[in-house]
Amino acid sequence: MNNELHHLIEMINQISDNNLHHGEAEHAADMVATHLKKFWARSMKDQIIAYAESDGSELNAVSKLAVEELKAWRQAKAS
């Protein structure tokens, strides 16, 4: 794994940790997905989605859900 991707995984997991409140993973995932939509560059979004599709093992539970949501949003936007 290259350092850039490694850093993105760290970033998203950190965002998830900071938005998780009382273990409400779905609510946290919504907030994380919104955050990624608003603040992450296209190439960062592409890389994290590709990673979730190909491996995803280092994403925590909230991050996994958030990337799913991001992916759906992207597909909707593209169509």
Binding site: N2, H21, H35, F39, A41, R42, S43
Partner: protein
């Protein structure tokens, strides 16, 4: 009758000294002075009333930035029905008073007083540095002194020795008239209390500290005493050397977020001295050692004066014309985009440059490069402020004016060191503390504000680095559980559901001071006391700095601060508020101007189609709807190989950003680095194009300070390389095929006003008329907005955000048992590129590592030892200073000198929301060493090589000229 509402800036001439300070009473008192009827606020002195009526009363010891003192007696007047000759400076006006300022008796009295003064004063007026700018000389003229009957042979002070120890001013006591203006300025204006009158009667003399040289005393060299001195006793050395200036231009300081207004006093195009401008609403005529004295860098021999290019960083520079440098840059950028794609290039705007220049760089990126890869150094300082305040109170800005602090009852300072980083505002804060306001400081260090002379109650919450959120949560917990909330404010002004959720969260026992004491290290009882002092204050005001933002939970902490202010109703009026103290001069402005990759000017998101449409219509170009890369992501992408070119205006990312070795690797990975700067800074050593920048003295524009105040920057001399910075960006845009045709920065501001809803009323004409404007300035607030959120928030209702404490992964371990925190000091500024090239280095020649005596003892370290400081990313070597400002377990350094490598140690740990680096917490080990670190050795040799390359280009260009 003349009616004066006194404090009005529109009526007051800031260039005139009215003798005593303005009074704020709304009750008017009418009197007659020399037959002129006038009405002034109650409490006004007769001297000031006379001045307001256009009548000049002679004076020496009075000045309108100091309380009346009544020592020189020159301002004596006659008042009908009163006996004797009262001093007009200490006599308040009374209804129906009839004052005479010029009578035969007064003339004789004043002449006699002057005669006594002059009998112990050197008569070298023609060769005196104050010749032409001396109040003593003026008064001798005004009273018609013709003779000194006492002679000059008696006991006198004419042989007193000059103290020239301060690099910027000299103290010549032979010329001193002991008026105490300097002593009072040091106390009342600056608040340092470094000066005193030593001795009694004839032996009275001005002394610094315990009769020491100024340089060895507590003096902080703010220069207030120099400005206050009516003679040449305290005099700028620049005036002694160059003579008295002949014209002046009002402009804005380029150091720090206070944004002081100055008169640049000139002889032709030579700047002789900077004198703080009384009409400046941020500083009211005060300044610090940087703003007043450290301007010599502008004419330093190291200035880059010609554009230069090279194909690789292993080559010497080639001096070229502007045209060639711009064409070279444009071709490189276009070729790279053709090969690697539209998103492979980006730009960095500068918080040291003007609003107009910043706006233009982000416009170049969005419109000329066709992507949103623009970021600014606020990324590494106040980006969490943007995120946190926007989420909670809807606007990314401080809520108050600086003057608001004068109405605060409790001042809570978190992670800021105002006496060093925002010294002029710190002086104002100290004035309020002397008046009795309570001070609470939440900081790992015992900052100097806690040692305010004659301050009132103060509390120190010495928390462990990295536990801010735990502390703010426990403060809020006390407010909520002890019933200290302002329920009225919450009900009226805040979202109900979010508040309830937050209240449930914050009331949980795990957020109590007792539960979090183990994390923060602050005794629970102290936290409870502080929470009560803030919540019950009447007016509680929060000021915070980078000790809040530069953490892995920086954004959470900013939200926690806003929650606390909302819960206690401390928003929306004077004396309260949430106030980020901005580091650099135009951090606020660079953020306002759309420097961030996700936001267009005015914090408008690029994903909003309506916003984009307005910009697209005016810019005639399509704007990318996805955010661009932030600086740290640019670095990662560069190392990964898909980000290839960067245009950096006025920033030194190689020195200021964390994990230096990572930054250096990123910069060397670029195919084209274009640096626009006034010096060969650390980043420029990795550049392929070096474009000469212009200093704040060489251009027109505006800066926006920490209180949202837009101030004019006015050109006082020509740019050394012929172009102001905005002109260079414009040339580059045109060369890239995106046309820009501004002829003056005012036209750029007009465009900003069209596109930014909070700026619609701003123009250069209005700035000239009002002096300065605090945004929002629009139809609703035509003259600007001193206090924000008075009626509602820009998002309607205030939003309480849940602030879970998540401990930073950067913790002390067995291998790295100490926590390093970084900051800055008074005499140096940021990366030091400016201040290191001035005499300010006399106060701080090198960065040192401050360590607590017990940690030092444990390691067998003494003061002055060389210390190797290692973290998980790097090692550097610094000299040791043992200091009890630190807690045990915490070490501290500054990053003003590039060779110190403070950022070689700092890591890429960053704020979860904004990636603002966690400069304030790095786990380190410290040990005694005998040689520089590997990185320092590499730095040394690389630095030497790059300077050689620069010298070669200069030699060649000289040769070509011959």
């Amino acid at each position: 009758m003349l009616n004066y509402f006194d404090p009005s800036q529109y009526r007051i001439d800031p260039d005139r000294d009215y003798g005593t300070p303005a009074q704020l009473s709304e009750k008017a008192v009418a009197l007659t002075i020399d037959g002129v009827e006038i009405s002034v606020p109650e409490g006004t002195s007769v001297m000031r009333a006379a001045a307001l009526a256009g009548i000049t009363v002679p004076k020496l010891c009075a000045s309108d930035n100091l309380e009346a003192f009544g020592s020189c007696r020159l301002c004596a007047v006659e008042i009908e029905g009163k006996r004797g000759y009262p001093a007009s400076c200490t006599t308040p006006v009374a209804e129906g008073m009839e004052v005479h300022t010029q009578t035969g008796k007064l003339a004789k009295l004043r002449r006699n007083i002057m005669e006594l003064y002059i009998s112990d004063h050197p008569l070298d007026c023609l060769t005196c540095p104050a010749n032409g700018d001396c109040e003593l000389q003026d008064m001798a003229g005004a009273v018609g002194l013709r003779d000194v009957r006492y002679g000059f042979d008696g006991a006198n002070h004419l042989d007193a020795e000059t103290d020239a120890s301060n690099p910027y001013f000299s103290f010549d006591p032979s010329k001193c008239i002991v008026c105490s203006r300097c002593v009072r300025a040091c106390e009342e204006v600056q608040g340092t209390f470094a000066l005193t009158i030593d001795g009694r009667g004839f032996d009275s003399k001005v002394a610094a500290s315990q009769d020491e040289d100024f340089m060895d005393s507590e003096c902080v060299s703010c220069g207030a005493c120099v400005q206050a001195c009516p003679t040449s006793t305290l005099m700028e050395k620049s005036v002694i050397e160059e003579g008295v200036p002949e014209h002046s231009v009002v402009t804005t300081c380029a150091y720090c977020g206070v944004g002081c207004s100055f008169k640049a006093e000139m002889k032709g195009d030579q700047l002789v001295r900077m004198v703080p401008y009384k009409g400046g609403d941020a500083n009211h005529g005060h300044s610090c050692v940087k703003g007043r004295f450290a301007f010599g860098y502008a004419t330093h021999k190291d200035r880059i004066t010609e554009p230069m290019i090279r194909d690789s960083i292993d080559q010497p520079w080639r001096t070229v014309s502007w045209e060639e440098a711009i064409a070279f840059s444009a071709k490189r950028l276009k070729d790279i985009q053709a090969q690697y794609g539209r998103e492979s290039i980006g730009g960095i705007t500068s918080s040291r440059c003007t609003n107009e220049e910043t706006y233009l760089v982000q416009k170049l990126v969005r419109a000329g490069f066709g992507n949103n890869n623009t970021d600014t150094c606020a990324r590494v300082c106040h980006s969490p402020t943007g995120y946190g305040l926007k989420t909670t109170i809807g606007e990314s800005a401080g809520t108050q004016t600086f003057d608001s602090v004068m109405k605060a009852d409790t001042i809570l300072v978190i992670g800021a060191n105002p006496t060093d980083a925002h010294p002029v505002f710190a002086s104002q804060m100290r004035r309020r503390l002397r008046q009795g306001a309570t001070l609470i400081v939440a900081d790992p260090r015992r900052i100097d504000l806690l040692k305010t002379p004659h301050g009132s109650t103060s509390m120190h919450l010495p928390l462990r680095p990295g536990t801010n959120v735990a502390l703010i949560n426990s403060l809020a917990h006390v407010v909520v559980t002890e019933g200290l909330e302002d329920t009225d404010f919450i009900n009226k002004r805040c979202e109900g559901d979010a508040y309830k959720a937050w209240r449930d969260f914050i009331s949980e026992e795990r957020n109590s001071p007792e539960a979090l004491e183990a994390e923060t290290g602050v005794p629970a009882e102290q936290v409870r006391k502080a929470a009560r002092a803030y919540a019950n204050a009447g007016n509680g005001a929060i000021y915070y700095g980078l000790g809040v933002t530069e953490h892995s939970q920086g954004s959470t902490m900013v939200m926690g601060i806003a929650n606390l202010a909302m819960a206690t109703g401390n928003l929306g009026r004077e004396g309260v508020g949430v106030n980020p103290l901005r580091g650099q001069n135009n951090v606020q402005g660079s953020c306002d101007m759309g420097s961030f990759p996700h936001e267009l000017p005015g914090y408008q998101h690029v994903g909003d189609p309506a916003v984009r449409e307005r910009f697209e219509n005016l810019w005639h170009v399509k704007i990318d709807d996805e955010p661009g890369l932030r600086i740290p992501n640019m670095f990662d992408a560069a190392i990964a190989g898909h980000f290839k070119a960067l245009y950096v205006q006025g920033e030194d990312i190689a020195q200021s950003d964390p994990n230096t070795q990572h930054v250096e690797q990123a910069l060397t990975s670029l195919d084209c680095l274009i640096v626009q700067d006034i010096f060969l800074n650390e980043t420029a050593k990795y550049a392929h194009v070096l474009l000469p920048g212009s200093t704040f003295l060489e251009k027109n524009g505006t800066f926006t300070n920490a209180e949202r105040r837009i101030n004019r920057v006015r050109k006082v001399m020509a740019p050394v390389a012929g172009k102001e910075d905005w002109e260079v960006t414009q040339d580059l845009a045109n060369a890239l095929g995106y046309p820009m045709n501004y002829s003056h920065p005012s036209e750029i501001m007009d465009e900003i006003a069209q596109l930014t809803p909070t700026f619609t009323g701003v123009s250069y004409a209005k700035l000239d008329e009002l002096g300065s404007i605090q945004w929002p300035c629009n139809a609703e607030h035509p003259d600007g907005t001193p206090t924000m959120h008075e009626l509602d928030f820009p998002i309607g209702k205030g939003h309480f955000a849940i602030t879970e404490y998540v401990a930073t992964p950067e913790r002390s371990t067995r291998r790295y048992p100490l926590l390093l925190t970084t900051g800055r000091i008074l005499s140096q500024y940021n990366v030091g590129a400016q201040t290191r090239r001035t005499e300010n280095s006399r106060w701080h020649e090198e960065d040192v590592l401050e360590i607590h005596p017990s940690d030092a003892e444990l390691r067998g370290i003494s003061d002055g030892d060389w210390l190797g400081v290692s973290s998980r990313v790097g090692q550097t070597v610094l000299r040791c200073r043992i200091s009890d400002r630190m807690q045990p377990g915490v070490v501290y350094t500054t990053f003003h000198h590039p060779g110190s490598g403070a950022n070689v140690i700092t890591t890429d740990s960053s704020d979860w929301a904004t990636n603002c680096p966690e400069y304030k917490v790095t786990a380190v080990q410290v040990e005694k060493v005998s040689q520089p670190s590997e990185w320092q050795k590499h730095f040394q040799s690389f630095d030497e090589k790059q300077h050689e390359y620069l010298e070669k280009s200069k030699d060649e260009s000289n040769f070509a000229l011959k």
